[in-house]
């Protein structure tokens, strides 16, 4: 593990549960490492795997203040958020592997994972594509008086998409219970944020629409959690918000990307911004845990996540007969397969 930056927030924070936040982040980190391993072992369906290593604090910190019944959408780098909202790692890994036991029966994969039971309205492979859904979910929450919020998680790359601004405007105009969480990992694929915008102080854009907005340092998961607590409370009362979590994408855009567009020094510095190592050091420093306890926890998480790989490999792919299912509602006829149609046409007299 890379040496973390100096602890500048070592004092106790009564409102955050650092051991729990550490555990969530550690599970995300380990899960993502296993996703990488699944790919290396040729067991993942496809190569479109985007890991959130280095960004765990955004997921763990923000989700700590979401409730059952809150809804959310994520971007393509959303494994950590879903885990932090309570996903079953086995069903997640199975979905990433394109297996029938996955959350979406193997049809969605890493970038289209969803679970209505946990309020996950879907990960998205279109940059910014999942953002406006929270406007509708926010309208529905208000219409039904549920008191729930809807949260869009996306990366800095989505700040280049017009639909973000359309959605921010609607959220502010209609005072919806919505929060926009921009996980700024500094890169949209291979383009650094300062090469993509002249003003990289991203939360200022939200101020322009009248949203409560701030930026937190993603090194410190407690800072993220505290900001989330403030903004979520406001959103529940109809004050939509925008949070930027500054972090660093430790690895390439997707599994095959070795990041040739950035140099080793930058990566070395960037990886020092490690929220997991930072939280661990803080736990030790404050006496909230000792090294042996943390080692035991880490080992337990390693075992849990190792099992997800075994589980996934043991699962079967969805049967071909499911291919035409769920294009339309179950009570509707399935589309006619091309082969059936060809045979029918060529079988004439």
């Amino acid at each position: 593990m890379t040496k973390p930056e100096a602890i500048h927030a070592a004092s106790a924070r009564p409102n955050t549960d650092l051991p729990q936040l550490y555990r969530t982040m550690r599970r995300i980190r380990t899960f993502e490492e296993r996703v990488g391993e699944l790919f290396v072992r040729g067991q993942s369906a496809g190569s479109m795997l985007h890991l959130s290593i280095g960004e765990e604090s955004a997921a763990a910190g923000f989700c700590a203040h979401m409730q059952d019944g809150d809804t959310f959408t994520t971007h393509h780098r959303g494994h950590g958020i879903f885990l932090a909202r309570g996903a079953d790692p086995n069903r997640m890994m199975a979905e990433i592997g394109g297996k029938e036991a996955g959350y979406c029966r193997g049809k969605g994969g890493s970038m289209h994972i969803a679970d209505m039971g946990l309020g996950h309205l879907g990960a998205n492979a279109i940059v910014g594509g999942g953002i406006p859904a929270i406007i509708g979910a926010g309208l529905a929450a208000r219409h039904h008086g549920t008191g729930k919020i809807s949260v869009a998680f996306f990366g800095d790359g989505a700040t280049g998409q017009g639909i973000l601004y359309e959605s921010m405007n609607m959220a502010a105009l209609w005072r919806l219970p919505c929060v926009f969480v921009c996980i700024n990992n500094q890169y949209g694929m291979g383009t650094r944020i300062d090469q993509a915008t002249a003003n990289a102080v991203l939360h200022e854009r939200a101020h322009a629409f009248g949203l409560a907005a701030e930026t937190v340092d993603g090194l410190d998961v407690e800072a993220v959690a505290e900001a989330a607590e403030r903004l979520v409370a406001g959103a529940r009362e109809g004050r939509p918000a925008f949070l930027v979590v500054d972090c660093y994408r430790f690895y390439g855009h997707a599994r095959k990307d070795k990041s040739p567009y950035r140099d080793a020094t930058e990566e070395e510095t960037g990886r020092r911004k490690d929220p997991v190592a930072f939280a661990r050091a803080a736990l030790l420093e404050r006496g909230l845990a000792d090294a042996a306890e943390l080692d035991a926890l880490d080992a337990q998480i390693d075992a849990e996540m190792d099992a997800t790989i075994d589980f996934t490999i043991a699962q079967t792919e969805p049967p071909l007969s499911t291919m035409f299912r769920d294009v339309y509602a179950p009570e509707e006829p399935e589309p006619e397969p091309v082969r059936t149609r060809i045979d029918r046409i060529l079988a004439r007299a």
């Binding site: 959408t73 969803a114 879907g122 594509g129 859904a133 406007i135 509708g136 609607m170 105009l173």
Partner: protein
């Protein structure tokens, strides 16, 4: 209920009112739908009865209007998103084609997107190249989206009412030239089922398959053909997805000749798909090639003459039918 005279516009409006009274989760959102009453007045004064929380005026943000409708539908509402002109559909294609259409499938059947996208298209108002198109092929080309295009006042009412009970996203394309068309209708009469085409006229010599405003041009042409001694069967598709091909097949097999009439452009359009299917599936019964009468492969002009010339009309349909049957029907 008694017969009443209604316009296409009023029938649509009545369908929205009845659906909203029946189901408190039906909401309308779009540009100018509330205070203004809709660019074509379909939502006129709905805001008075249902309030601004259910008839929501939006900013001019087509992608987010459709995207918000997707989220609302997933979260338990029954949104009607109004897209003022179908020409703006390109703005929304990600939310419509990548999100609404695919969510049920991508998520393994966990949830559908029961929304209606109401819009209007077609020529007839000298509205120019960006406000006059017939873009239904974009929708028909996207699995997961249902597509309804009413041609009559009665269908305007019933198809919209039915669309608002469907489990999947429905794109509902009205024709701008039909809003003032009147019909005497009994809205309580049992409508033809969703997904069934209507045989508007029966004749032994050829089948003309059409939908939306072109139905009226086809009927006009069919009447004139009848005085020539040519009797046409006219099929109004009503919904293009689901597509009722069984009715087409049945009639084409009987008549042996078919024409497809569509206002959308010829190349890779709806008429192309229909023509291909008729050719493939009714090949042994066809005595002549299936002829497409469709929009020219050009943009629509503001000039009334050029605009009218760009799309099929009664005369072209009539001439085409006469040529198709020419040699075989004794003068």
């Amino acid at each position: 209920m008694a017969l009443q005279e209604l316009t296409y516009r009023d029938a649509l409006r009545q369908a929205l009112i009845d659906s909203m009274r029946e189901n408190p989760d039906v909401i309308i959102m779009g540009e100018e739908v509330g205070r203004y009453g809709g660019a074509y007045a379909v939502t006129k004064e709905l805001i008075k009865e249902f309030g601004a929380e259910r008839v929501i005026d939006t900013p001019i943000s087509e992608p987010a209007i459709i995207g918000a409708a997707v989220g609302a539908a997933m979260a338990g509402l029954r949104p009607v998103a109004e897209l003022m002109y179908v020409d703006f559909i390109g703005m929304t294609m990600d939310q419509l084609g990548n999100q609404a259409a695919k969510i049920r499938y991508m998520f393994g059947g966990q949830i559908g997107v029961p929304m209606v996208l109401r819009t209007q298209g077609g020529t007839g108002r000298s509205a120019g190249a960006q406000h006059s198109q017939s873009l239904e092929a974009y929708v028909m080309h996207t699995p997961g989206l249902r597509l309804a295009m009413p041609a009559t006042v009665s269908d305007a009412y019933h198809l919209l009412r039915m669309a608002l009970t469907k489990p999947d996203p429905v794109v509902f394309i009205e024709h701008k030239a039909l809003y003032t068309m009147k019909e005497t209708v009994d809205l309580d009469a049992e409508p033809l089922a969703w997904g069934k085409s209507a045989v508007r006229r029966e004749g032994k010599d050829l089948v003309i398959v059409t939908y939306s405003r072109q139905l009226h041009y086809v009927m006009e042409a069919a009447k004139k053909l009848s005085t020539d001694g040519i009797e046409a069967t006219v099929i109004d598709l009503r919904t293009l997805n689901p597509l009722d091909f069984d009715t087409i097949r049945e009639h084409v097999e009987r008549a042996g000749r078919a024409m497809v009439v569509s206002e959308s452009v010829m190349t890779a359009g709806v008429a192309a798909e229909l023509s291909a299917r008729i050719t493939e599936e009714c090949f042994d019964y066809l005595e002549d090639p299936v002829v497409r009468v469709a929009g020219e492969d050009i943009p629509i002009s503001v000039s009334t003459a050029l605009e009218t010339g760009s799309v099929p009309g009664p005369q072209l349909i009539l001439e085409t039918a006469r040529k198709l049957l020419g040699a075989r029907v004794a003068a």
